[in-house]
């Protein structure tokens, strides 16, 4: 896996943390903040056995790079990158990593937070939970009572 400053990529394979860190190393920087999203064993009270991520790469990668570029422009940081998995992930596996290096820690914390928040909001990636009981569910997709009409499907 090749990672460079400014990158956002969707990876079919486990994230190579060493390569990811290496891309963000910078002797001008005194602060490094890393966020990882892990596959956890429960959600909404149900026991989760594994996750399946689907990404629409032709838009996910450009949108992700746009978010990383926004962070590099808005915050006083030197380097930033992110990688998101697709495919099947087991419990505890990192589904996404976001790394930011900067001179001072405040900007690194804020930029890292910005990138993960925007990824979760704007990038076409979907998550299917496979439960211990064998059933599955795409996360946050079903219409639930109380949802306003304009947020509904149809």
């Amino acid at each position: 896996m090749q990672v460079q400053n400014g990158d956002f990529s969707i990876s079919e394979r486990p994230i190579d943390m060493a390569a990811f860190r290496a891309a963000l190393q910078d002797e001008q920087c005194g602060a490094f903040v890393l966020f990882e999203g892990w596959v956890r064993n429960h959600n909404d009270g149900r026991e989760v056995g594994r996750l399946e991520y689907e990404a629409y790469i032709p838009m996910a990668e450009p949108l992700g790079r746009e978010i990383v570029a926004e962070a590099l422009q808005r915050f006083d940081i030197s380097r930033a990158a992110a990688v998101h998995r697709q495919g099947n992930l087991g419990l505890g596996e990192p589904a996404v990593v976001v790394g930011v290096a900067s001179s001072h820690r405040d900007a690194a914390f804020r930029a890292c937070r910005y990138i993960i928040d925007e990824i979760k909001h704007r990038v076409p990636i979907w998550k299917k939970e496979h439960y211990a009981d064998g059933s599955t569910e795409w996360v946050d997709c079903r219409l639930t009572p109380g949802v306003k009409a304009e947020e509904t499907a149809g």
């Binding site: 949108l63 979760k120 990636i125 795409w138 996360v139 997709c141 949802v147 947020e151 499907a153």
Partner: protein, 80 residues
């Protein structure tokens, strides 16, 4: 009438049972088209409407659709 391609992802693909389909429609906007598609695939009615893109660019639900467009309907995203 225009002819265009509609692509379904994730929960929508499971609900419609298709990855992509060729559609002939008089719908003017993305919202109109989604409503029409929900009539064709009633299972979509159980899902939230979220994001839409045309030819790989994000659009809103008032965006016009044209002949030959590729319209992508995205369920609520859930990365991370």
């Amino acid at each position: 009438m225009k002819r265009l391609t509609v692509k379904w992802f994730a929960a929508y693909r499971d609900a419609t049972g298709v990855t992509e389909e060729s559609v002939e429609t008089a719908a003017a906007t993305t919202a109109d088209l989604f409503a029409e598609m929900t009539e064709r695939h009633p299972a979509l009615g159980g899902y939230r409407r979220a994001l839409v893109a045309i030819n790989n660019e994000m659009k809103d639900w008032a965006a016009g659709i044209g002949d030959g467009d590729e319209v992508l309907f995205f369920p609520p995203v859930a990365g991370g």
